[in-house]
Symmetry: C2
Subunit: 270 residues, 2 copies
């Protein structure tokens, strides 16, 4: 969808700015914004693949990744391509603020002056021109602009130094449980990773933990939280080709049912 990004105007040592392009499009277990975690650390089991397929002409993606395997974690800089509107407001309503507003630069909201996202994710491996990742918070298809190694000496406050954050950014998680029906469906749909009949990234155990982690973080956007309150509202969640029906009631989540997203007979009931 996004073919290139251009830094225009101004000068670059007297010459026009170079054209910027996504280095690749990420494939993740999340295909919808709803239930995609707000940060990668929220769902450490979320898997993804990043294929470096749009480098400049003549740049060998495999060579550009050479040496990256020495690192356990990497940064993804990405474009918030699903923002439905331009971000021209000074203050935003973060979901955890529950209706309060704060300066956009005091948040990680994707609706910001420049819709770039930053995610620390775990590097699981490199296969040719493809990077295997976990702990991602990106909707499948998000254009990735840059990949940088995580270096604690540069990317974390010095040991012992004071680190403060706003008190609203890291709320407690919700308990999540599966009904027996949902658990049985999970085992039926994903008997084992090696035997999976889907092209998905997750086996049964990973899918379950990914769902648990994602739902525990209360994925409701503000308008749903406001509309539904805590009163047993139903949410349809799609993760890695599986459609899930969950309810949130009394600050707890219950996964009620699940089925393959492409199986009409299963999903109609969901």
């Amino acid at each position: 969808m996004l073919s290139c990004l251009v830094l225009t105007a101004g000068c670059w040592q007297g010459a026009p700015w170079p054209t910027l392009r996504p280095i690749g499009t990420i494939e993740t277990c999340f295909t919808e914004k709803f239930a995609t975690p707000r940060q990668g650390a929220v769902v450490p089991d979320a898997l993804a693949r990043l294929k470096l397929d749009t480098l400049e002409d003549g740049v060998d993606a495999r060579a550009a990744l050479d040496g990256l395997e020495a690192y356990s974690h990497v940064w993804l800089v990405w474009a918030a391509h699903l923002n439905g509107h331009a971000a021209a407001r000074a203050k935003v309503q973060a979901p955890h603020l529950r209706g309060g507003r704060t300066g956009v630069f005091a948040t990680r909201s994707p609706f910001r002056q420049n819709p770039l996202g930053l995610s620390l994710v775990q590097l699981r491996g490199i296969q040719g021109d493809t990077v295997l990742l976990s702990g991602v918070d990106l909707v499948s298809g998000t254009p990735v602009i840059d990949l940088k190694p995580y270096i604690p000496a540069y990317d974390a406050p010095a040991p012992g130094s004071t680190c403060r954050t706003a008190d609203w950014v890291d709320p407690p998680t919700l308990p999540v449980r599966f009904t027996p029906e949902a658990t049985a469906a999970l085992e039926r749909l994903r008997p084992a990773a090696s035997k999976s009949h889907t092209p998905g990234l997750l086996d049964a155990a990973s899918l379950r933990s990914t769902l648990e982690q994602s739902l525990a973080a209360d994925p409701r956007p503000l308008y749903r939280w406001r509309r539904d309150g805590g009163d047993g509202a139903e949410y349809s969640v799609r993760v890695d080709g599986v459609r899930v029906l969950a309810t949130i009631c009394d600050a707890a989540v219950t996964v009620q049912r699940l089925g393959m997203d492409d199986e009409d007979c299963d999903t109609t009931s969901v």
Copy 2:
């Protein structure tokens, strides 16, 4: 210099990508690439001011910063506007590799597919539309694209998890000493921050520690390191309006002399 950045081509929910602009230009104590640290953590005493002066029309910079004071550290996403050439190579020679080459994505080199930098810096205060920072690694005048709060739960590996980096990225520092002549000049030039006769950011003690930290990290680019070896070569360093002459010999740095950059009588000897 850089007036705007445009994300072009592709679609953004069917519409053209929005125009991106630097949120401001940073003013730091470093006016040249040489001796500007490679990462902010290297020189924690390096001070800077970021004035948010180029937000979209109608966006109040003061409001956009509201709430940011709750955080002790912030990310800067910036454009490597001093890159003298396009980065179209898959492998780069990082100075610490001493001539070896590695994949560009295994480095924090500014010469990358998309010349965006990422720096964790300390937030010292907010004054209206201006953010006061320390531990910066940016040449004064660098366009800043985004400012995000640092949130340990998102931006650091989970406590207890394994974190690996390449073994070349964090070399030991060099010892730095000042000659009596340099120390005397420092005290003469900067008797106290409040009485400073320069528009600089640093008082005598901060200038000294900033110089020490910057030089200890061996700021020589690869070509100087190769050319000069360890044999007493002289380096001219400019920090916060002060011109410094230092020598690097036998893996140690000596600050020989210093003078105001704009005082011909002092700087001619430097």
